[in-house]
Symmetry: C2
Subunit: 771 residues, 2 copies
Amino acid sequence: MKNYLLHDEWKIIEEGFNPEYNRISESIFSIGNGRIGQRANFEEDYTGDSLQGSYVAGVYYPDKTRVGWWKNGYPEYFAKVLNAANWIGIRIDFDGETLNLADCQVSAFRRELNMREGYLERSFTALTKSGKKVKVAARRFCSIADDETAAIRYAVTPLNFSGTLTITPYISADVKNQDSNYDEKFWLEIMVKTKKKQAYVLAETKKTGFQVCTGMKFAIHREGKEIDFPSSLRIQKEKYAGCTVDLKCKEGQETVVYKYAANISSLNYPNEDLYEKCKEAVDRAFTKGFDQMMADQAAAWQRKWDEADILIEGDVAAQQAIRFNIFQLYQTYTGEDERLNIGPKGFTGEKYGGSTYWDTEAYCLPFYMATADQHVGRNLLVYRYKHLEKAIENAGKLGFSNGAALYPMVTMNGEECHNEWEITFEEIHRNGAIAYAIFDYIRYTGDQGYLAEYGLEVLIGIARFWAQRCHYSQRRKKYMIHGVTGPNEYENNVNNNWYTNYLAVWCLKYTAEALAHVRKTNPTALVAIANKARFDEENETRNWKKIAAGMYLPHDEKLGVFVQHDGFLDKDLLTVADLPADQRPINQKWSWDRILRSVFIKQADVLQGLYFFEDKFDEATLRRNFDFYEPRTVHESSLSPCVHAILAARLGKRDKAYEMYLRTARLDLDDYNNDTEDGLHITSMAGTWLAVVKGLGGMRVHKDILEFDPFLPEKWETLSFKIRWRGFFIETKVTRSGVVLINHADGTLDVKVLGTKVRLKGNSQTEIPFK
Amino acid sequence: MKNYLLHDEWKIIEEGFNPEYNRISESIFSIGNGRIGQRANFEEDYTGDSLQGSYVAGVYYPDKTRVGWWKNGYPEYFAKVLNAANWIGIRIDFDGETLNLADCQVSAFRRELNMREGYLERSFTALTKSGKKVKVAARRFCSIADDETAAIRYAVTPLNFSGTLTITPYISADVKNQDSNYDEKFWLEIMVKTKKKQAYVLAETKKTGFQVCTGMKFAIHREGKEIDFPSSLRIQKEKYAGCTVDLKCKEGQETVVYKYAANISSLNYPNEDLYEKCKEAVDRAFTKGFDQMMADQAAAWQRKWDEADILIEGDVAAQQAIRFNIFQLYQTYTGEDERLNIGPKGFTGEKYGGSTYWDTEAYCLPFYMATADQHVGRNLLVYRYKHLEKAIENAGKLGFSNGAALYPMVTMNGEECHNEWEITFEEIHRNGAIAYAIFDYIRYTGDQGYLAEYGLEVLIGIARFWAQRCHYSQRRKKYMIHGVTGPNEYENNVNNNWYTNYLAVWCLKYTAEALAHVRKTNPTALVAIANKARFDEENETRNWKKIAAGMYLPHDEKLGVFVQHDGFLDKDLLTVADLPADQRPINQKWSWDRILRSVFIKQADVLQGLYFFEDKFDEATLRRNFDFYEPRTVHESSLSPCVHAILAARLGKRDKAYEMYLRTARLDLDDYNNDTEDGLHITSMAGTWLAVVKGLGGMRVHKDILEFDPFLPEKWETLSFKIRWRGFFIETKVTRSGVVLINHADGTLDVKVLGTKVRLKGNSQTEIPFK
């Protein structure tokens, strides 16, 4: 755990040069706009420790699988988000000496991420080896107002000398992924082009054949005006294009480089148009100019904050943390493109390949549903609909037939990428999460039409999978699901994981409900779906019903709890309190077998189920299970604490709820797990939002009614959050004395607050005091 | 399954050139002498498909581990037997055209492995691209009489031309392992040296720093006499040394190259002496000459056959198969060096790295105990004793303490090399097999002194491991062992595997017995061992006793069988008869999860236990378990059928016993599993021996008495085998009418035959008719 960043309500601030933390800061100070993401690498050359990272959404590479021992059914490749062309680079030389902070004495170093307006700023003074002192101030952002473009303002001032300043803005696609399995570079050059003050690199990914054109145009200003320079040397190398400008510079004279860049990919345009489109985008940005682009950026972010901000008064660290999380989520995914999704590290690192996990459905969807327009959540669902065929193929590879669909654990394009048998083949609960997301989306938005349009087809594929994946035990006269890994990945290949079995039953039942709904509301659609899926409704649904009724759901009478899986209670039933501090985190201290046979839980399966289906269980049941499983959970998944926070809040365990909220809120800012250097835990950030809004805020939907049951942590003065709800826009402010709800829409809305029905009139505010 | 080899009692014969089977033949026709092993690669150049393989026992390379996803506790490297210098190479050119069968029309190709005399022979006629017709006859062997040396006789005759014949005998260490994880070469050159008619390469392995000097000296003969040649060009390249001789040759004139080679490793001499020792060995062979060496070789093999041969009359295929297995086992391991062991593929391929597995203790030890001097089996045990410290370190890495020892799953020098968590960390029954081998060795040889000298220390380490590896389940009031993989590797991470739990209990009890024995027979040794191991006898043994008494041993009352592991009976209890033929072998047709959750068994755990501890169970119990587990076993491990053969024979299921024997007897000769190209299944060959001697021959030891309960498969006329037994040498001949036992020793021996006590007088023969 580190603590080198300053606390501020709207900014992330690093003061002082911390090369030992550079990779961490590069992750934290990342900028992005959903189309491109950029780690906080330096514009000028830097030979110190750094993870160079520029990413273009949807552009990936199928890196040949690397395993120790091959198992039948493993995928041939792991799709990876590509480190794409470096568009930020501006090489700076003074009298032939290259500016490189690794070689300098650095002072007054400051890095600042302005979340309100959406930019990254960095300034420092450097003393070079030859004794030259120079001041630099740089600002850059990826535009969310025009998401093909980005801009940099880079100001450099010699402090103790005059001489020749050489400036080389460039684009370089000669990059590689640090996690490349076989140490190859993934890009091939198609074209390199330079023009006056412009440079373009068009590159293609090996195997996948994605093309990306990255370009830039620059201007140099002094005293607020663009200056002309006699000539510039154009440099073209393999996958590299740049322009070198030599200028006389005087002590104390500031020279400002404005670099306007664009990344245009073949996802959005035909290959033959990429260069032209890139040139257009670069020109557009250049013409608009840095200041106007910056103003547009601030305005666009303001619109996002107006809808999604959470205000915490009385706790700057908490305020900073929740805004950081919201900011990074929206930098990663804006919801405008149904082909994109949310990688666990977003565009802030290479780890986990930038691929899609069940995190999206289980954790991110509620955030986007509540803070963005309905089509954003819908696009997340449609992403999986578009992968249905691949999910059916994937199930086919594992021996399933008749249209059974198994969604991949990790994917970029719908195909499975992961290659640990206990995960790839066995962590099948993900299939349930994808069905649950359809239910959750419809429950939250009321968009029942989604079922006929997309949802039902997916549900049928998933239900068919469960029906084939279980077997009937003659001995026990029950249906069972053997050989699974639940969300608690500290158990592998277990039998009858309660969460998985319960979810399977729920999927079968919900699919039957969905069928009934579509039959009633859109019978024509049902016929079309049934034909397409060759659905034998009568026999298949009869079978589903039998399985749902006969499924074994392990339960212990004596403890009154659901049993995580067969044999769990045979373990040595220690609690985390029995674990010496020096043994934690167990995933760094213990060998895998020891973790597996211990009682300790990475993230609690059973509680995940109780969270998803909270209203199916009475409070006593929730409590018994929480009290049994929570003390055995080590929360070594960043996705774990939010679920515990929500349940703890539901059970009135406020200290526990707040403790759980704290576990993830500043996970990256304080580098809690010593892994922020690999990238930010983007999907966990949605978990933090859940912990605040569904946990502390007590927001939930029950029988089509929005409910709030909030409380305020002791340290906080107020907590305010905003949510969208079926066309309404509701602001909730929790104070010491009570809850204030503001209905920003015109219509009236009935909600439940602190257990009582409350009618919220349009455009007005209602206060409900704490009892 | 292939059938291209001719059946012969003493030879393996390939007639006709089968380049598509070349790798298979290269494995099958391998030669070796326990110190070096050589695949049946061609002496002359060959650009067709081939797995070049020359191996030097005990010389390995720690290849950096390659995994998809790292788990705590994985070893850093996988030790691999190294492909070592090519010492067989003789390049042949006619008028500048290189002889290469891949470019020729080949006729009269014949390859023959003479098992009686221990050599490989090959002859062919080749028509080259330019139309030259040439005849070649080559013979080679690795001497077992002088195991540092080897010799080749290579005769070449131009059939339709006269011209220049260029002969280049050479040594090349510029080789690599095909299974190198990162495609590197493992050898560094130390020295390359040529002298007249001689060439030497001294090379060192990277990281491990083993040095091997490989050298050769050659002579060229015509008409039975060495000929002189004016000069030879000496060639030295990186890691390569050779001599090129140009000779005029006449149509029909035979030229014979005699090449004498030696491989000398730093395992046996200081580095600085290797070249001299190699030169000495080469000279020794050269001076002795090919014919005398060949005579010594035949005589040495005759001595081995006198002791280890099995004679089967009436079935040439079976006769050939059992001799092939015995031959290859003795080519792999001679038992003279306690630092060496038996890799699953011996020195016939790279797969499994040539490392040591539990195969040695469970399958190979009985073969060597019965067919070789007592010190051979003892050396196999001492190998593990020497690794005890590493086994304690290995256990330490997995969280065990106080001298608990976990022997590695796969090892070269005592350190664990494997990296699949479900095997490396969980297939811990291997530890039991190592303890069992001590028991088995003492039971068979009567060498009780072994306990005080070596055995007890190992047993204490192993017992300590089991005591820590189990836990007490408060719920079930039983000790349990969770998270294991049994010999049936088609189940991973299961709880309470009956075989493992039973073996653990047995280890604890046997260690206590061993303690008592050493206390009685050698109290001084006991004190020394206890001090060295910091053994708290009172408390530790009290704990062992408690665990042994309280261990949970899953048993099903209704079926009357031991339960493979918790939950096994909850499966869909199909039998192999329910499996469509096109689904087999399941390890090639099914994804891993499907295999795991199926009932099908790779090799039967429970039956392995019943085989080890047969005399602890009544026949009805053996039968119930056999009848339950055998029909569910797919025998996809080559180590599986022998155990079933033995139990089937024990239960009077003669057809089943014979069927099981057939499953492995010709496994490699007929390439049953389509993998002989990777190398031979050396350790399984011991299993075949077990199937014959312990299965069909019904040989077992019960209460210090040797028993025989043989039967003759219908097709066979006689079966004869020889075994050593506590200083005796007993020949057993089974005929249609009965059993003939010949006691070749002077003393009298009481044995049990067909259930009846029989007294075998010294140097005489006793006949016991079948009833």
